[in-house]
Amino acid sequence: MMFRVDRDVLAEAVAWTARSLPARPSVPVLAGMRLEVTEDTQLKLSGFDYEVSAEVTLELQTGEPGVVLVSGRLLAEITRALPAQPVDLVVEGAKAVVTCGSARFTLLTMPVEDYPSLPAMPPAAGRVGSDVFASAVGQVAVAAGKDNTLPMLTGVRMEIEGDTVTLAATDRYRLAVRELKWQPDQVDISAIAMIPGKTLADTVKSLTTGAEVEIALSSTGGTGEGMIGFLSGGRRTTTRLLDPEFPKYRSLLPTEFSARAELGTGAFVEAVKRVALVAERNTPVRLAFRGDEVVLEAGSGDEAQAVEVLPVDFDGDEINIAFNHQFLLEGLGAIDSDVARLQFTTSTKPAILTGGKPVDNETIPDYRYLIMPIRLSG
């Protein structure tokens, strides 16, 4: 087996494939990256850790068919460091030799026959704009739990109903919901998938090179051991789905409010960051909305304290409410809008953070970030 390919193209493909390689593989062979030159002179690079698979296909000018398995991490480091010249890879016995300009590397190969075969790509279900999808997933994944002892909360739930995709994630302290349109292959499709949040966020971010992402779902019924695949610009990746169990979140999203506040997102973020300097982890930033201003406070009597006042466009009953500053900042970072709108009922009920001013108050915005307050004692 041999091939020649441009250094930049190879480095990018190798780096993308290496992303999904396990840091501590359960079996040594999973640390490998599989490189295959097909009969029709395509180069396929793939990696797999039984949860996530990644495969990228490149067109080659010259190549001789064959397969080789080498250390993915090492190959990624080497290709990143190579000069901008064509790269040759030639398999000689049990070694793979990489040459590029005046540099030459000899890599040990691993037994290809021990390498598990990648899962087949599930049937395609539809397509969505890659940038829209990446930003939507980013907005939702921020609320996914990071605690692996509660796997149900580490996922992003994807609900597909016809041409609408709803993404939702919660760690019990906040809940992010995003709706977007896509082009389903069947107009009456109805499916549910729970995708590991971190994997999904990393994957869609890396798939923005193509204009569209094709989504492939193995079980459109919505239950059981499923798999989801994403395909874009010669890159395909599959991820095992989580148990589809998820809180019945729609009923938790309040629809009636007693107050509404709108602030400039940038100024709000800056102010929260400043007062939060005196707030330790998991301690609250308190917001007091009065007329046309909001007082932000953090810290308590026997520690450092901070206070800042911001103008606000406020409508409704005056309210004192406190939030974990990290949760608030992550929400403000996710709304993707110059104006942040907060809606409240009481200081112990969930608040809703949305972006911008919807054209009228009847429209439910595409993106809602629910945040549970911190109850102050006394």
Binding site: N282, N324, T348, P350, L370, R375, S377
Partner: protein
């Protein structure tokens, strides 16, 4: 109330120069027994033992008449009864002791805010600042003894010295119903004849190690090079003991040391291997700990369980929660998880304990609400239980699974 009552009496001809001796150690004499005798005057002058009779009970307190037979606190009841079969046994009534204890502490606080309670029946006082108002430390000590006797009809002993540990030794020396001043220049003379076991921080293990080195008295200890002690006992313990042997103790009287943890444990009347019964006990202990947390205005983040097998080998397991709690149900669920994870299924247990650590004030502690959480939950249920208990007494309300005859045991 220590088991080491065998400090030899030395001639108390040390004089009463209390200059530079602002530290008082006040210790009630046979506290629980004395309180019980208030209501049973006919028993005064006879051996009385406070404790729960039965296989697992231990002596909580004993009158000096009983101690003469070798009975001491923490001794198994069965052994105490063998030593002194004539003794009257009175089961403890903790509420009564707590009440007297509170009253006694109030007397102390009227003298100085510098009061460091170390048990329900003993405390350190630094009266250095009360001198001008109330007189010399020895006079203050006598005044305290008179007030306690007048108000509660019980006696106490007072040690007066320049440091906490010497004051504590002095009060033990003059028990019962005494007062002893150890003058600043008489400390070494006072300390050196004492057995090493009398020193604060020398337990059985350390004492054995010292005796192996031929060190029997504090005087022996004082003459051993510090380096040798450090080698034998460890850096910190060695340095500490060498200082104590010369009467050096820099620890100040610190009023109101905030609770670092709150716990409760229970020795079963007979060893138990039924996980159902163990979990029920964990619930009972969790209820008790949570009630004490709420009463003290604390919340805590770390829950630990203590599990002692029938062979006395003990394991503890702990877990830190995301949010601090004072809710028995949350403590109980965590305790059950810890018990389940300890791998002691079907192992016979002698004792279980539940403890909440990492305490902070409930008033400074805000609580992150969770999605879909009910407005009123266990927290509110338990607050309501507290109210019922305050009004109708400790047996007014409890979880249904705990409604059953309570077995004997001591609170720890």
């Amino acid at each position: 109330m220590s088991r080491k009552q065998q400090v030899p009496k030395v001639a108390s001809a040390l004089g009463a120069d209390d200059t530079g001796c602002p530290i008082l150690h006040v210790d009630m004499d046979a506290f629980y027994a004395s309180v019980e005798l208030i209501e049973r005057p006919e028993l005064v002058g006879t051996p009385v033992i406070i404790g729960v009779p039965g296989l697992r009970g231990v002596v909580l307190s004993a009158t000096y008449e009983a101690r003469r037979f070798g009975v001491h606190s923490a001794m198994p009841m069965t052994r105490a009864m063998r030593l002194c079969p004539r003794a009257t046994v009175i089961p403890p009534s903790h509420g009564k002791y707590a009440e007297v204890s509170r009253g006694v502490m109030e007397i102390f606080h009227a003298i100085t805010p510098q009061v460091e309670p170390i048990a329900s029946d003993e405390a350190f006082l630094d009266v250095g600042g009360a001198r001008r108002r109330l007189g010399r430390p020895a006079a203050i000590g006598e005044a305290i003894r008179a007030q306690v006797a007048e108000r509660y009809g019980i006696t106490c002993s007072v040690g007066v010295a320049g440091s906490k540990f010497v004051a504590k030794l002095a009060s033990r020396q003059c028990k019962p119903n005494g007062l002893l001043v150890v003058p600043a220049d008489g400390v070494v003379q006072f300390l050196h004849p004492l057995p090493v076991g009398a020193l604060w921080g020398v337990g059985d293990r350390t004492e054995q190690a010292l005796v192996r080195l031929g060190i029997r008295t504090v005087g022996d200890l004082a003459r051993v090079p510090v380096a040798t002690l450090q080698r034998e006992l460890g850096q910190a313990a060695g340095t500490h003991l060498a200082a104590l042997a010369w009467g050096r103790d820099e620890r100040a009287v610190t009023p109101h040391v905030p609770d670092k943890s709150i716990g409760a444990e229970e020795t079963f009347p007979a060893d138990v291997d039924d996980p159902e019964a163990i979990r029920r006990e964990l619930l009972r202990l969790s209820e008790r700990v949570a009630a004490r947390l709420r009463a003290g205005g604390h919340v805590g983040r770390t829950v630990s369980v203590k599990l002692r097998r029938s062979d006395f080998s003990t394991i503890t397991r702990s877990r830190t929660l995301r949010e601090p709690t004072d809710v028995a149900q949350e403590i109980y669920v965590t305790a059950c998880d810890l018990f389940a994870a300890a791998g002691l299924d079907r192992v016979r247990l002698r004792l279980v304990g539940v403890r909440v650590e990492n305490l902070r004030g409930a008033d400074t502690s805000a609580r992150q609400l969770t999605l879909g959480e009910r407005e009123t939950g266990w927290r509110e249920v338990e607050r309501a239980m507290d109210k019922a208990v305050r009004r109708f007494g400790p047996d007014a309300v409890r979880p249904a699974s705990l409604v059953r005859p309570k077995f004997d045991g001591i609170d720890v």
